[in-house]
């Protein structure tokens, strides 16, 4: 019963939390750059405006694929916050990402094409860590079900330090932040224009943004799980991790995809893989 409630809560409140996080992010970023920054609710206003625009596009497929991207991002969150199987949530997340990539490909824009290829590279840079993290939670709590992990009274991070560090590293990919904003970024003045999103506009772009809000909340939820036994500490951890991400975003320049992929895989292998193999031998 509680799990259904949290799932419904996710459906309704995740965009709100996402907007607040993203709004605060923009203010802090602005302050770091010596600007005042937009109001906190600016991300909401941006998205709301997108839905009022005329529906235009290169052909029919991208909009439908983007809708599926959003739908399965929501499904991922429902499974995760509804206490379902962690691996199942991860697979739903991958499915959602693949729909975004397919939508970008289907626009047949040269910029989106390059972006889609890079988005896939980001996807494969991130995928191993997430699977290893899920297995790590299983080893600590004895279950893949998010509901069981939520009821765990200890701090999984103590047994999973390597995995936690790898997850924090790959979070930069997922939040589309520098130095790993390879496939698209918040700024359109670059060699790949807006990358995957070049040809999306109006409500289609709005759905992409909405999906990203949901995704942000899911990712922060995963950070929460590392500290599940102590909610206060968990929220503190989320704030610290997110601050680090903003700091990295503002103090680094984008890296090429090859070192990004190599780095992510190496960190995952050594810290993540080493962590679960060592844990299994304990």
């Amino acid at each position: 019963m509680i799990t259904i409630l949290t799932a419904v809560a996710f459906l309704i409140f995740a965009p709100v939390i996402g907007v607040l996080v993203s709004g605060v992010d923009r203010i802090i970023t602005a302050r770091m750059q010596g600007r005042v920054g937009p109001p906190v609710l600016q991300p909401f206003l941006d998205i709301a405006k997108l839905f009022e625009k005329e529906k235009v596009g290169v052909w029919q497929a991208p909009a439908v694929l983007i809708f599926l991207h959003l739908a399965f991002m929501v499904v991922t969150g429902l499974i995760f916050f509804g206490g379902g199987d962690l691996l199942l949530a991860i697979f739903a997340l991958t499915l959602s990402e693949v729909f975004l990539v397919l939508a970008a490909y289907s626009t047949r824009s040269p910029y989106a094409h390059v972006g889609a290829g890079r988005e896939l590279i980001q996807l494969i840079a991130v995928e191993p860590v997430i699977i290893i993290a899920a297995v790590g939670f299983y080893m600590v709590t004895g279950s893949f079900a998010a509901s069981d992990i939520m009821n765990y009274s200890g701090l999984p991070v103590i047994l999973l330090p390597g995995i936690f560090i790898s997850v924090v590293c790959i979070l930069t990919f997922k939040l589309r932040k520098s130095p790993f904003d390879l496939s698209t970024s918040h700024h359109a003045h670059q060699e790949l224009v807006k990358g995957v999103m070049t040809e999306f506009s109006g409500s289609t772009l709005g759905m992409v943004e909405l999906a990203h809000l949901y995704e942000t909340v899911i990712l922060l939820g995963i950070i929460y799980l590392f500290f599940v036994g102590n909610p206060l500490l968990a929220i503190l951890a989320i704030i610290v991790v997110y601050m680090l991400e903003i700091l990295a975003d503002n103090s680094t320049s984008r890296v090429k995809w090859l070192p990004a992929l190599r780095g992510a895989w190496l960190i995952t292998l050594i810290l993540g893989g080493g962590n679960i193999i060592a844990l299994s031998l304990l």
């Binding site: 005329e54 529906k55 235009v56 596009g57 290169v58 052909w59 029919q60 497929a61 909009a63 439908v64 809708f67 599926l68 739908a71 399965f72 499904v75 379902g84 691996l87 199942l88 697979f91 739903a92 991958t94 499915l95 693949v98 990539v101 397919l102 970008a104 490909y105 289907s106 047949r108 824009s109 040269p110 910029y111 094409h113 889609a116 290829g117 896939l120 590279i121 996807l123 494969i124 995928e127 191993p128 860590v129 699977i131 290893i132 297995v135 299983y138 893949f144 224009v193 070049t198 040809e199 090859l258 895989w265 995952t268 292998l269 993540g272 893989g273 679960i276 193999i277 299994s280 031998l281």
Partner: protein, 647 residues
């Protein structure tokens, strides 16, 4: 209440019918040169085999494992004579082609199996010859239904093939005859309980594979056919050694699969591992895998039937049969690691390939590797995953092979780069290809459920091997997403709607493509009943009690997700689609959609090419490293076997 004896007779007749019946169309087809009559014979033969296998599957629900002795005492002698004839034939063709290594291995195997027959001639009638249970019945349906559909597809495909290759002699009578001979041998492999029987059918499938690979009769095809033969013979040599080991150590009553597994790991582990080596060669695991990539020179129905959905499955079937023996054993884990390394390495190689058939070949090797990994782990959950992988891979991969074959004949290329925007000129086949690809790696589809179960299974496997397998699987499945998704993207890169070129596709090809597409989707909806009525009872027979597998509620979520993918686009189409269509942004002066004008007045049309990351995933380098690692693992396995044999 039907008499138990009557049931036995009925079963024996059905099993023997399935093994022997395909020989009838095979014989008729050798002499038939009329195309229409051939179509009738092939369709009837395939249809009857398919119906027979479905009947067997229906019977097997609620039945336990059953063993039968065929009341024909001279049959062992007949098999030996046939084996000598096959060996003689192989020696002659190899001598002609100066393939002396092949001759050596043919003679070695003949010597070994002769020795085994000599040792066991009196004894081996003691074990039942045939067996049937849910697992064999599932395999039989894959052979009968998917194999049958591919045979029908081949009717249309081979006609066009001969039109495209005018220089080749029209050997279609022989081609179809060998296809049916192969079906018969495959039924034999999955129904054999007596290992000597299984070995006989095993060798016949190797022979069929050799004959079909060299069908184009080019130099490349002949060389690749001999390579396939050689590698399968090297691996196959372990099979008679296993039989001799059983006869020397355990006595002939352990020569049956059922009794051997029941005898426990103390007796069964060494012969099971030897058979697993033969299985690894047949399933093209590293370092043997190059034969399967070479086998892609054969006509596409051959690749679909032998080299993805059935024959290579015989290898993993044999390993999966002995999964309970490997449960919790280090030797089993070594086999699992061989499969795991193969999965990871060949998935990486698939990224660098743009030839569609080579991508499919490498992905087949990779998935077989994953099945070997599950079978080597050997827990009930791992075996559950392995069987589902076998089912879903057979369906999706044959659909993909056949749709690539159809596309190849329409656009004259099997290169993925040439399939840009294929969804416009070939909407139906394009959609089928998309479904097939989705079936290989995306969430609500079958393969992914099996991967999910394998992660569950590996996390409970013997540490630290289980965790090493998890890491391998985590990387491997990421890489898998990459090469499939970029292929899907390529199909969707539509420039503008063009006139369909699908009207030229033959009825025979549609007759296979449509049911396979339907099966890909239906099988996903059917996971829960397949698991409850077929696989779980089988696991109970093998292991006694089994713990909870994938919970039903999660399977329900999967089915709901699948429903969403189907329903949402239809529901939302009207609301979502753009009201006005715009040109693409080209960063310069766009002359017309997709064409831009540069600063010097040059007009350029966009050309998009996918990432292949050859520097990161070089085919030659990865094969080399993968082979070195797996050869070391095989050496460890052999050392374990030898020391186990001495102790």
């Amino acid at each position: 209440m039907i008499d138990a004896k009557l049931i036995t007779v009925m079963y024996v007749e059905l099993l023997l019918f399935l093994i022997l019946f395909p020989l009838i169309p095979a014989l008729i087809l050798t002499v038939l040169r009329n195309e229409n009559l051939r179509a009738i014979v092939v369709t009837a033969g395939a249809g009857i085999s398919a119906l027979g296998s479905i009947l067997l599957l229906a019977f097997s629900v609620g039945q336990n494992q059953l063993f039968f002795t065929v009341p024909a005492p001279d049959i062992a002698l007949v098999m030996l004579v046939l084996e000598i004839l096959i060996a003689g034939y192989l020696v002659i063709v190899s001598a002609k082609a100066k393939q002396f290594l092949v001759i050596g291995f043919v003679l070695l195997q003949l010597l070994l199996i002769g020795g085994a027959e000599y040792l066991g001639l009196e004894g081996h009638s003691k074990v039942p010859d045939l067996l049937t249970d849910e697992f064999s019945a599932i395999m039989a349906v894959i052979i009968g239904v998917i194999g049958g559909l591919i045979c029908i597809y081949a009717l249309g495909y081979m006609r066009e093939y001969q039109e495209h290759h005018k220089d080749l002699p029209d050997n279609r009578p022989k081609f179809f005859a060998v296809l049916f001979l192969f079906l018969s041998a495959m039924f034999g492999v999955v129904f054999s309980n007596n290992l000597i029987w299984m070995y006989f059918f095993w060798e016949v499938t190797t022979l069929c594979s050799y004959l079909l690979i060299r069908y184009p009769e080019t130099e490349e095809a002949i060389n690749n056919a001999f390579r396939a033969l050689l590698y399968n013979l090297i691996g196959g040599a372990c099979f008679p050694i296993a039989i001799i080991y059983i006869l020397v150590n355990g006595g002939s009553e352990n020569l049956g699969i059922g009794s051997l597994i029941a005898a426990g790991p103390a007796i069964a582990l060494i012969p099971a591992s030897l058979i697993a080596i033969a299985g690894c060669a047949k399933s093209a695991q590293l370092p043997f895998s190059s034969w399967l990539v070479g086998a892609m020179v054969a006509p596409t129905p051959v690749s679909a039937l032998l080299h993805s959905s059935t024959m290579v499955k015989a290898g993993v079937y044999a390993i999966a049969r002995f999964a309970p023996v490997f449960d919790g054993q280090v030797l089993g884990m070594v086999i699992a690691l061989i499969g795991g390394v193969t999965f990871l390495v060949t998935s990486c190689i698939a990224i660098s390939q743009s030839n569609a058939k080579k991508v499919l070949a490498y992905s087949t090797i990779a998935n077989l590797g994953l099945i070997v990994a599950c079978a080597g782990v050997g827990t009930p959950e791992a075996l559950w995953a392995a069987i589902f992988l076998i089912i879903f891979h057979a369906i999706s991969k044959s659909l993909l092979f056949l749709s690539v074959g159809t596309v190849e004949h329409r656009i004259g290329s099997r290169d993925i780069e040439d399939m840009t925007g294929l969804a416009a000129p070939m909407p139906k086949v394009g959609l089928m290809m998309l479904i097939g690809i989705a079936g290989m790696f995306l969430a609500p589809f079958g393969m992914l459920i099996s991967k999910w179960a394998s992660i569950h299974a590996f996390s409970q496997a013997l540490p630290p091997f289980g965790m090493i397998l998890i890491v391998i699987l985590a990387y491997g499945s990421a890489v898998t997403v990459f090469f499939w998704a970029k292929w899907m993207g390529k199909l969707l890169e539509v420039r503008k709607w063009e006139e369909s070129i699908e009207f030229k596709i033959s009825k025979a090809e549609w007759a296979a493509l449509i049911p396979l597409t339907a099966l890909t989707i239906i099988a996903c909806f059917g996971i829960a009943p397949i698991s409850t009525y077929l696989i779980e009872p089988f696991l109970v027979t093998m292991y006694g009690k089994i713990s909870d597998l994938i919970p039903a509620s999660n399977l329900m979520i999967m089915v709901l997700m699948l429903a969403l993918i189907v329903v949402l686009p239809v529901l939302m189409m009207k609301i979502l689609i753009p009201r006005r269509s715009l040109r693409r942004y080209m960063g310069g002066v766009t002359v017309k959609d997709g064409v831009m004008e540069g600063s010097l007045g040059m007009k350029r049309e966009i050309a998009l090419s996918n990432l292949y990351l050859e520097d990161l995933f070089p085919e030659a380098g990865l094969s080399k490293y993968g082979s070195v690692i797996t050869i070391v693992l095989f050496c460890v396995l052999l050392l374990g076997l030898i020391s186990g044999g001495v102790l």
